[in-house]
């Protein structure tokens, strides 16, 4: 239900919006271009999704890796520093990360990608540390008693037990990513935010509504899909 409904809306919008020029003309008769046609909505959606998917995979790899290192006995002393970075990072808004990335990488998709990765690492890292910390000592002792090595204990016991919280972090990271990628169109990335920003700048409310509807449906679809995955993982325990 949580995936099907938004996905259906998204598909309907993708199929219907290109033929809805008449409606938007009726709503805003003064506009000479009532429909965003610079890039097709499908291409925008795929570009948006691609950006978020690429950034989230990198963020998950980095966040998971750092989280695992910081919870090993040898890396424990890093934990306070890692936490401090996460807390400071949380107060830095996505717009700021985006703005910081522009002078480094110029305009386009690159600064957006960097901002998405930097910002996406935090939720995954935080949830990985929290998830690995809450694995019961009894489970760890049992694994040790069965003669599991460090790696096998991590892969077969700790990570599966922490999968639920980690997945919650991945979900949060992806959702924030969808939102930040939208703002990324303000620095020249081609995403579903492009019609919104172009409409705001060019005083074209039809473009704004088209982009906003699509990106809203996309965000809810992504969130729904990852929520189902998270529930499955938690139930599998």
């Amino acid at each position: 239900m949580r995936v099907v409904a938004p996905l259906a809306v998204l598909v309907l919008l993708l199929l219907g919006l290109p033929h809805a020029a008449g409606w938007f003309h009726a709503w805003q008769p003064q506009l000479s271009h009532p429909l965003y046609t610079r890039t097709s909505f499908l291409a925008l959606t795929l570009a948006h999704l691609g950006l978020v998917a690429a950034a989230t995979s990198v963020a998950v790899a980095v966040g998971l890796g750092l989280g695992i290192v910081a919870t090993r006995p040898a890396g424990r002393s890093l934990l306070p520093t890692v936490r401090a970075v996460a807390v400071i990072g949380q107060t830095v808004p996505p717009v700021a990360v985006l703005a910081i990335a522009v002078p480094l990488l110029g305009f386009g998709a690159a600064p957006t990608l960097l901002a998405l990765v930097l910002y996406g690492v935090l939720p995954v890292l935080g949830q990985t540390v929290a998830g690995l910390d809450q694995v019961s000592p009894a489970a760890l002792h049992a694994a040790d008693g069965m003669g599991y090595g460090r790696w096998r204990r991590l892969l077969d016991v700790e990570l599966p037990l922490a999968a639920g919280p980690v997945m919650a972090g991945v979900r949060l990271s992806a959702i924030v990513g969808v939102g930040t990628a939208t703002i990324g169109s303000a620095v020249g990335a081609t995403t579903l935010g492009s019609p919104i920003v172009e409409g705001l700048v060019g005083n074209n409310p039809a473009y704004v509504v088209q982009g906003a509807l699509l990106v809203g449906a996309l965000a809810l679809t992504v969130d729904g899909a990852l929520a189902v995955l998270e529930r499955r993982l938690r139930r599998a325990l």
């Binding site: 107060t91 717009v95 700021a96 703005a99 910081i100 002078p103 939102g179 939208t182 990106v215």
Partner: protein, 374 residues
Amino acid sequence: MKAAALPVFVLAFVGMVAASLPAFLHVAPNRLLSGDALSPHVGSMAGAWLFAAACMLLAFPGRRVLVAALAWAGLVGLPLLAGTDARLILAHASPFARVQLGAGFWVQWLAAALLLLDRLRGMHRAVQAGAWLAAFAAVVLAFATGAFDSLALVREWQAQRAPFAAAAVAHLRLAAITLALALAIGAPLGWWAWRRRRGDGVLVGVLAFLQTVPSLALFALLIAPFAWLARAWPALGALGFGGTGAAPAVFALLLYALLPVVRYTVAGLDAVPGDAREAARGLGMSRSQLLLRVQLPLGWPVLLAGLRIVAVQTIGLAAVAALIGAGGLGRFVFLGIGQGAMDMVTLGTLAIIVMALAVDLLFQGLLALTERRA
């Protein structure tokens, strides 16, 4: 002992890499062009980081204080170094030239701050607070004496002092109004949701649904309804209810703020032990007395923790609201991006981050105060 040294090694490594980056400073011919990278002190900066790491390898008494002092010196010294360099460079340059802080500076500065944080951990509270306050005071003092006046960031601020102050005030006002409204609406909603356990599913569901919608899309979708409202009731239009502007921005920020406020209100009410409620009932307190005298004082710290999250989140989101004409510091960021004036972008961004950190600290202080009293 080895393990405790790990953060120093990691941060020293990060600092050393940042010190060797080509861009400690950027020298640009004017405000809009991007400049050439410049790194005048690679050797000495990398050497200092190496020294900090080496201190941890040799066991001698007081090395922890030494490394902490080194980190403190980096925190205060790096901006001074950059400021001095900028003055020397500008002495032989055209009047339009700008000296911007580069990635090498920012990463080293962050590493120094994190190193100080790590080395101070476990020391007495007064020592920790004293070290940070002294660093803060030293940087402010240097700023007041004009040590940073040659840096592009400070020049940009001096050129735009009035609009910058106005934007900062507008930003704070947006956040404060949102926070007040969120508390006024969210707390009763949370209380209602807590009273009827079964009824809250829909409310929280709707609020969580809204939380998922990207901020730019929500801001954008509100333009049309607010424009319609202003046309239908001109009195509202006079209050600022245009399609763009502060009213739709506050409304959208409020929608994002409600979920945490409702959730933390419920958690705060849950935190009040059942015994305390029973006892109050037994004393013959009415429901409103119970709420004001028992539940509010006992649940307040939890609600305050929620407000801290809301405040920081709202300051960040309010930056996006600049795109629909709500003003605030986000205007500096997006205007700067539009003009290609990176100093303006940095100025706005830095101000937003500082504001969020300051509000976060303020709420931490309030929390510490209420907890001590409780």
